[in-house]
Symmetry: C2
Subunit: 293 residues, 2 copies
């Protein structure tokens, strides 16, 4: 997905939010916005939004001298999500189609996003996730929810690459991976996280904190972008990416970065901004399981 001019005000908003999370003074917050104003001419609209977001957040990190402003938030998100792990498992156990429920929960977990949502109340959102009726997962359009295709691809695949999105959401990913493992014990699942801090995206430490390393091979994509941009990935990761029989891509950032790539990709995400919603002809909050291939 290319970057729209409408994304530019949003980048300023995100920078301001991140600067506040990093407890920057108002003077420093203003300085950050001014710096972004200065580098605006360098932004190419042909890049995907995560590629520009990388520059924005790097600037915030440099100006606030804080390598990982969202660290505490990530720790807290993991903790809260782990706290409902048993309830999530129960939900999957008690459902007619455990895999479908696990997929739904993995997408619902995508609500945990501090890049887009500035005033996220995780506890409140998790309440909604646990109350299926409140989730608009049930309102999904059939064409936008390629579950049968997903199941078919899962059956056929030997190696599955799972592209993580945010910390906390990792617990929901674990639920889905465990369900896949229950159904297909022999599948090789590789869980890819970011190399360096970017917003509240999961790092190796988050995957480990949420127990993913016990059920999948955890690798780093080599990235510090809030979306998997192939040209910026490490060579080692690209080999895995190119060899995978199936790619499960979580979150809007990965969708923005990979929507024009060719591959056996399944995008599991929630539309979180006006431009993505416009492109997909949906409302903000609508959920998707899109098949790329």
């Amino acid at each position: 997905m290319k970057t729209y001019l409408d994304c530019i005000p949003c980048f300023f908003n995100q920078a301001l939010h991140a600067a506040r999370i990093a407890e920057a003074s108002e003077t420093d917050q203003k300085k950050i916005l001014i710096e972004i104003g200065k580098i605006l001419p360098k932004f190419s609209l042909n890049c995907s939004p995560p590629e520009i977001a990388r520059v924005i957040y790097k600037l915030v990190r440099e100006k606030t001298r804080l390598e990982d402003p969202f660290k505490n938030i990530k720790i807290e998100s993991n903790k809260i999500a782990l706290g409902i792990y048993d309830k999530l498992k129960e939900k999957v156990r008690n459902s007619k189609d455990g895999l479908l429920t696990a997929v739904e929960l993995a997408i619902a977990g995508n609500i945990i996003d501090y890049g887009v949502n500035n005033s996220l109340d995780i506890n409140k959102e998790i309440e909604k996730i646990l109350n299926v009726e409140d989730r608009n997962i049930k309102n999904r359009k059939k064409a936008s929810f390629a579950y049968d295709k997903f199941k078919g691809a899962l059956e056929r695949a030997d190696t599955i690459l799972y592209l993580a999105d945010n910390a906390g959401e990792t617990v929901f990913d674990r639920i889905l991976i465990e369900e896949i493992k229950t159904l297909y014990e022999e599948k090789q699942i590789i869980y890819a996280v970011k190399e360096r801090p970017i917003i509240n995206d999961a790092l190796i430490e988050d995957a480990v904190a949420c127990g993913i390393d016990k059920i999948a091979e955890v690798v780093s994509s080599g990235l510090d972008t809030p979306g998997t941009i192939p040209s910026l990935c490490s060579k080692k990761f690209l080999t895995i990416y190119n060899k995978a029989d199936m790619i499960i891509s979580k979150g809007q950032g990965n969708f923005e970065a990979l929507s024009e790539e060719i591959g056996p990709i399944f995008f599991l995400f929630m539309a979180k901004c006006h431009m993505v919603a416009k492109g997909l002809d949906c409302k903000i909050g609508d959920v998707f399981l899109l098949s790329q291939s």
Copy 2:
């Protein structure tokens, strides 16, 4: 009201919107955003938002070489609002307290704002206005709706200065002014509009198109700011402003510009952005009749 850092992304949004209204090419839209980025260091947060908005919209006018990008929108707004003039009058006639209904309608008419709302469907909004149940005017907090104080000031005042906001909204202002004239024939009412185009703010031509000149003296404030900033007003207007026994200030822009001024001002407006809503501890769309004195 001072400008918040949160207003900065909003200024970019407004500029983009205005550039599109002016039918600027995507290249020119981007150039405008880049120009705003360049002048960002000059913005003082001690100014009120309308003071900065003035610079933003001036830049859009210069870059698009279009003196009044919102001209057609204003003509259309006047036309649509005039089309329901009879219905509005009937509403006032049939109500127990005609003045209160006229005040309510004058505030409801404040929905016609292209600065804040990028995708305004006037017809839809007017439908809501005519359907009292749909309006959250009824949900107003008593403390935020100083109607008794307003009525008292009206009774005592000889000269009333009415600060207009947007074109189209002028018809709703006419309803209120006519109601005041019915109750207090002898009051002198002066209706102040902007001198030069700024967003869809009413100019003299809009006041005339909506028939205000038949019931009040129409004057220009000398401004091209979306809010009445005393230091920028014409001397002639300031004399009127300082002599008025009562000032009826319409819209959020005038509230932002005058909220820290001392005077017999009554603010009739709808909260339209997060920062104003935050400051007033209310939701976006909440309506106010605030007494300054």
